[in-house]
């Protein structure tokens, strides 16, 4: 284990140690928990900062090589894929720097396979740090540290303040473990752990049934995805006996990034199989008996889709996206950390990490899932009146963008967007929390005019809003541009015109995004307060925030800027939200963003040269952002308003109500999945009671009846037979008594007759013999 791996292991375990201390000492430590948790995650942040610098300090050729150039790369690789393998004849993919180490968690079945393979089948646990992991680590710990600090302010009055920080620590451990994992099996384990942390934090105010329901829904929806993931794991493991991501990544594809598909046949039926390749020589791997390691193409596709199902669950992709908006029932810092910046991005992260696994049909499926998700969520976000819900749907939508980017082959683009989105979305949520902390309502219709009262919150949120809308010079612009470029490349340059939707959906979706994000900002911060005229009631969350002495009739009137504990994290996040996407030379902002180059360095397959697609994407981005923001101004910015949103809503009442009901997904699932399952459960229970148990009881009852009948039979038949025999003997005896007269001549008479009879019989028999 190199020191770098040790560093990351320490960074993963620091929050776990903190969690253990906090949960065991919760009675004694009390509010100290906050400091323990924050200290631990800050420590992890420092460690991952060191790791990040060390990684990109020792990785060579990060900046002179980039995907668009398609040039030769030099890399020094440590760990299992060590060494250079220059092949003079064809261009090859150099192995990027990888820090890895693993130990066997479980080894079973020693000596069973054959004599040459006495070793058992192991499930290792290990750490693998590539460029993506190093960047993710830094991002997660940075945002998590800020959110810990923010929570000290936000959760200050909560009675379960210590428990909250314990949960946060456990979450940080699980999330960092997930990022650092070297095998997909381990990812699955951490996957569920982050899920359970999310469950506890969504249901943190569990006194409300609504919150518990949301927590259950999140967990169970994720488990549906996990079944798919288990399927993928099982199929891969049966075929290859390993879960190691980098091992599979390097053996599944050749150096040009192609799967090694061969046609095999069985029972006269031809089918495609994918054969594993030796990463050193690009020749098929064979086992000792000379059989190639292979998996049928369709099975690999199914396995990929299975893994993706898990990702779709975690990253809230259609059709498993329904849990994320409900997850906003949790405290807002949780929404920022878990349900916007980090955990929900885990699905995208895994797709990126395990990218070579996905066959072409699987990638296409991923792209379309992303496209549909981003569009559906964006349309729903437009009609939300709750600003946290707007952010929730925008998260779903942005995750769709990332998936689409990955699906069309824009590996670096999708992950680039993951990182930029994490920063600006965390900022948006924390800003929203700051607003809520001040006005105690999420309802936009009663807000407005907060800008003068909460300048800093408003400004930082504006920066994030511009980033997400794709305003040039803000981070989101660069990453969204990269995704659009990838999809233009896929659709137009590679000639996949039938998949034109993969360009149209993100383009339209991005415009809608710009529209609803600015709508939100205008409705909350711009103009005058609407609460007097509207006189709305607002939901009062009963979690200890109510003792601020506010007049609840007018939330805006007493609004005030949040304290420094909550403001400083906003500032700290605003910087990367703006600048994280910048290229090396900012001004003619055409260069390749630094972050994207860092990511592309570790790409598991060679990335395509996008060429002119970037210029078209740039143009499209500008048009999209302008139109979206322009419409928002025309509809919602007081002073510049030209249209009335309410009128449009009225005219398209049908669509409006369709969107208000979130495309009726919840109702559909309730009718098609939940209710039938519950009915089936009741049916099974009834079946168990009446039929299965009924049979048992009937058999028992019949036995009792039978034994009663048998008792009757015994008494009358069996016993009767015995008595009958006795009676017959008695009668016979009685009758025999009559013979015994006691007179000698009678006896002599009988004797004479008998002798006569005997003699005649004997002579008849003997005479026949002669």
């Amino acid at each position: 284990m190199s020191w770098q791996v040790g560093l990351y292991v320490a960074a993963v375990f620091l929050p776990l140690v903190a969690f253990t201390v906090q949960i065991l000492g919760i009675k004694f430590l009390g509010r100290l928990n906050a400091y323990i948790a924050t200290g631990a995650i800050a420590g992890s942040f420092l460690l991952s900062l060191v790791g990040f610098l060390a990684y990109f300090g020792s990785a060579e050729g990060v900046f002179d090589h980039h995907a668009r150039g398609g040039g030769e790369a030099h890399a020094s690789a440590e760990g299992e894929h060590g060494g250079e393998h220059a092949s003079p004849t064809k261009p090859h993919k150099a192995e990027p720097l990888l820090w890895t180490a693993s130990v066997d968690w479980v080894t079973l079945g020693q000596g069973l396979k054959d004599v040459r393979h006495p070793e058992g089948l192991a499930i290792p646990v290990g750490v693998a740090i590539d460029s993506l992991a190093a960047i993710m680590f830094l991002m997660v710990t940075f945002i998590a540290t800020l959110i810990h600090i923010y929570s000290m302010g936000y959760m200050h009055d909560d009675p379960r303040y210590p428990r909250f920080f314990a949960y946060l620590s456990l979450f940080c451990f699980s999330m960092l473990g997930l990022v650092a994992s070297s095998s997909v099996f381990m990812i699955f384990m951490f996957w569920e752990l982050v899920g359970v942390c999310s469950y506890f934090l969504i249901g943190f105010w569990y006194e409300d049934k609504k919150n518990c329901d949301a927590a259950n829904k999140a967990f169970i929806t994720n488990r549906i995805g996990d079944v798919g993931m288990l399927m993928g794991l099982g199929l891969l493991w049966s075929a290859f006996g390993t879960f190691d991501i980098h091992e599979l990544n390097s053996t599944l594809r050749d150096r040009a990034g192609k799967l090694n598909v061969v046609t095999a046949s069985k029972d006269a039926q031809a089918y495609d199989v994918v054969r594993l390749l030796d990463p050193e020589t690009d020749t098929p791997l064979v086992d000792d008996s000379g059989r190639p390691s292979q998996i049928p193409y369709w099975v690999l596709t199914i396995a990929g889709l299975g893994i993706f199902a898990g990702c779709a669950g975690k990253s809230a992709q259609f059709p498993l996206h329904v849990w994320l908006p409900d997850a906003m029932a949790g405290p807002t810092p949780v929404s920022a950390l878990i349900h916007a910046a980090t955990m929900v991005a885990a699905g995208v992260y895994l797709v990126g990490r395990f990218f070579p696994l996905f066959t072409e049909p699987a990638l296409l499926y991923i792209a379309y899932t992303g496209g549909i998700t981003l569009f559906v969520a964006a349309t729903i976000a437009v009609v939300q009146s709750d600003y946290k819900k707007v952010l929730a749907y925008s998260t779903v939508s942005q995750l769709g963008f990332m998936m689409l980017g990955l699906g069309v082959g824009g590996w670096a683009a999708g992950l680039f967007h993951l990182i930029t989105h994490a920063f600006f979305k965390a900022l948006l949520f924390l800003g929203a929390g700051s607003v809520y902390h001040s006005v105690h309502t999420y309802e936009m219709p009663v807000l407005g005019g907060l800008f003068p009262k909460m300048k800093w919150t408003a400004l930082t949120m504006l920066a994030a809003t511009m980033a997400i809308s794709g305003v040039p010079l803000f981070s989101g612009f660069y990453s969204k541009d990269a995704i659009l470029a990838s999809s233009i490349h896929f659709v137009f340059h590679e000639g996949n015109y039938q998949h034109i939707l993969l360009f149209v959906l993100p383009a339209v979706g991005a415009a809608i995004t710009a529209f609803y994000m600015f709508r939100m900002w205008f409705l909350v911060f711009a103009g005058e307060s609407r609460s007097q005229q509207a006189g709305h009631g607002h939901d009062t969350h009963s979690h200890g925030h109510d003792d601020h002495g506010h007049d609840h009739g007018d939330p805006v009137a007493h609004a005030h800027e949040s304290g420094p504990m909550m403001l400083w994290p906003l500032f700290a996040l605003a910087v990367p939200a703006i600048a994280i996407g910048w290229p090396m030379f900012i001004l003619p902002f055409f260069g390749e963003p630094i972050l994207e180059m860092m990511l592309a360095y570790g790409a598991p397959i060679p990335l395509a040269d996008l060429g002119s697609a970037h210029n078209w994407a740039m143009l499209a981005s500008l048009i999209i952002a302008t139109s979206g923001i322009g419409l928002a101004v025309l509809y919602y910015l007081p002073g510049y308003k030209r249209f009335e949103a309410a009128k449009v809503a009225h005219r398209f009442a049908g669509i409006n109500s369709f969107l208000q009901h979130k495309w009726y997904f919840d109702e559909l699932y309730w009718a098609v999945l939940v209710r039938p399952t519950l009915a089936l459960a009741r049916g099974v229970s009834r079946f168990d009671k009446s039929i299965v148990d009924g049979v048992v009881n009937t058999v028992a009852g019949l036995t009792v009846v039978l034994s009663k009948f048998e008792g009757f039979f015994d008494r009358f038949a069996v016993d009767g037979l015995v008595n009958l025999t006795a009676k017959i003997i008695y009668v016979l005896g009685d009758w025999g008594r009559g013979i015994q007269t006691g007179k000698v001549r009678n006896y002599l008479m009988v004797l004479a007759c008998t002798v006569l009879l005997l003699f005649s019989v004997v002579f008849a028999w003997v005479g026949r013999g002669t």
Binding site: L121, M189, E192, E207, I220, V227, M231, S238, V696
Partner: protein, 577 residues
């Protein structure tokens, strides 16, 4: 302590305790309780001694854990003519190898024959622990204390005997002895419908045990399909209750043909599925659990169900691998069906205890499935099957811990709120925070959350199932949704929300916390570091189950070629060996 004495003490200490309890005057219930507790603590100590002996070097220089039970049994041979003749005397007894063998009823070749390997030792340890904890949980018993603890210790003794016995007749004796104390414990100290539940339990289990007896007798009396060489020396002539020798004969010779293996397998399977329990023989379980007092429920779920699984691992598969292979698809399907069926039935329950009982049915389905996913060496990689069997065994241990905990926790709340109706509970986490935290952990452990013990078992079985039949595996995997559904829904109905009605209920007492701690620690330890158990259980599973089963002569190509059909030819052909 010699291992003869140690193994005998493991069942005779509680037996003696059971008799001694009768000598204590019933005016001193406290004395009876404490005496019983001391006995069970002593017993648990003895199981730990056995455990350390298993892992450490014996005077003869071997580590029991490192050599298979078969080798150790072979070192304890009885001399004299084998077969139906009288056997006497013994030589070559290895000391400290955790096998004991003496003639018992020589006329029928019945031996007093005990032994421990990883499979039985894990369950012996579990039983020792669960019996100790339930004894502590029994302190709240007020009715006829003397009778209760006497029967309780008798039950403990017979359970230990079941896991220790290597002679099938002895096994059967312990198996039957176990039923009587259990019957009375449910019938006297149970709930309102206790007599029905007790008689149902008794008759159902007796019904199952008939199948087991018939199977054992068939193995004993079978005249043989062909003459096979056995161990290269003596010829196998049946007429033995020695489970190790019979299993070896079955897998290595052609003495027991395919047909008779099918019959034996089905008999064993039926008998042990009743005990496990699996659909469709499971309905005694919810009744017994609901009516039994809390500590007896803990024993029932924690140990008694494991006897069914143990029988599958120790008898059904090794004694009839060909039969097991021929029916494996149906058995696997039955396992999957049981998983889904139990989970669905659990979801519909409103009685807390009944819900936990049905969850047991669901979890025991994984045991069936894990055993059933067998393959033949040479056709597929048997290492995957090793994951299946290890998963099944792990499930028994994990379920032994979590279900003991769950029944205990249900008992805790029943003692306080006097109801088990899920719709009447609620908001308990705020009222009883420690109780809530322990419950969440144990229930999540049962649900199969990674990092807790249930996960390891479930995921091993499911992964092994993918190598066997992906369709069944996906169905089994889908059950995790249902499991999450009923567990979360239950937790919500019991612990979350707000409650005025239950305000002021006391949190866990010290005694209850002491009971929870080992369960909580083991739930986490086995989940985080399963090797702590698998490292010493896996070799026994490989040598005792996986290897003999996957390489059984009746199944492998080489074996089949050597074993021409027997009864059709006048002279039984010699096997190739």
């Amino acid at each position: 302590m010699s291992d003869d004495l140690l193994l005998s003490l493991l069942w005779s200490v509680p037996m003696a305790g059971s008799l001694l309890v009768l000598l204590i005057p019933k005016q001193f219930p406290g004395v009876i309780k404490w005496f019983s507790l001391v006995v069970t603590i002593l017993l648990f100590g003895l199981t730990l001694v056995a455990f350390t002996k298993f892992l450490s070097e014996s005077p003869s220089g071997d580590v029991p854990a490192a050599s298979s039970l078969r080798d150790r049994a072979a070192a304890n041979t009885l001399t004299g003519p084998v077969g139906d003749a009288v056997t006497v005397g013994e030589t070559g007894k290895a000391v400290g190898d955790l096998v004991v063998r003496h003639p018992w009823i020589p006329y029928f070749n019945i031996q007093y024959y005990l032994g421990l390997d990883g499979i039985s030792l894990s369950l012996v340890l579990l039983s020792g622990l669960v019996c100790m904890l339930s004894c502590l949980a029994s302190f709240s018993i007020e009715k006829n204390v003397k009778g209760y603890f006497s029967l309780y210790l008798l039950l403990t003794s017979s359970m230990m005997g079941v896991f220790l016995a290597l002679d099938m007749f002895l096994f059967y004796v312990f198996f039957e002895v176990m039923l009587l104390p259990m019957y009375f414990l449910i019938a006297i100290w149970g709930g309102e419908n206790r007599e029905y539940a007790a008689i149902k339990f008794l008759l159902y289990t007796l019904f199952g045990s008939v199948f087991i007896l018939v199977a054992i007798l068939i193995l004993f009396f079978w005249p043989g399909d062909s003459v096979g060489s056995f161990g290269g020396a003596a010829t196998w002539t049946a007429h033995s209750f020695d489970s190790i020798a019979v299993a070896q004969a079955v897998s290595e010779t052609g003495y027991y043909g395919r047909f008779i293996q099918q019959v034996v397998f089905l008999l064993f399977l039926t008998g042990f599925l009743v005990k496990l329990p699996s659909f469709p023989f499971h309905t005694w379980l919810p009744d017994a659990h609901v009516q039994a007092p809390t500590p007896i429920s803990m024993i029932l779920a924690g140990v008694l169900l494991k006897i069914g699984g143990y029988g599958l691992v120790r008898f059904a598969w090794p004694m009839a691998p060909a039969g097991a292979y021929d029916f494996s698809y149906y058995v696997a399907a039955l396992g999957v069906f049981s998983i889904l069926y139990g989970a669905l039935a659990a979801m519909a329950q409103t009685d807390f205890k009944k819900l936990v009982a049905y969850s047991s049915v669901s979890h025991m389905g994984y045991v069936t499935l894990g055993m059933a996913v067998m393959v033949i060496a040479g056709e597929s990689d048997p290492r995957y099957y090793a994951y299946g069997v290890n998963g099944a065994m792990f499930m028994m241990i994990a379920h032994g811990i979590t279900s003991t905990g769950m029944f205990f926790l249900v008992g805790v709340i029943y003692d306080r709120a006097h109801t088990r109706d899920l719709n009447k509970l609620g908001g308990l986490w705020n009222v009883m925070p420690i109780y809530g935290a322990v419950s969440f952990l144990i229930f999540f452990g049962s649900m199969g959350l990674p990092g807790l013990c249930g996960f390891v078992a479930e995921v091993f079985v499911i992964l092994a199932a993918f190598n066997y039949n992906p369709t069944l595996a996906v169905l089994a995997a889908a059950a995790v949704i249902l499991t999450a559904g009923y567990v979360l829904w239950t937790l919500q109905r019991v612990f979350l929300g707000r409650s005025e009605e239950h305000k002021g209920l006391p949190d866990l007492t010290t005694r209850e916390i002491i009971i929870s701690i080992p369960l909580v620690v083991l739930t986490i330890l086995l989940g985080v570091y399963p090797s702590v158990l698998l490292d010493w259980m896996n070799p026994s599973i490989i040598e005792g189950v996986v290897r003999p089963v996957t390489t059984a002569r009746a199944l492998t190509a080489a074996g089949k070629a050597a074993l021409t059909p027997i009864k059709t030819t006048a002279i039984a052909p010699q096997t190739a060996r």
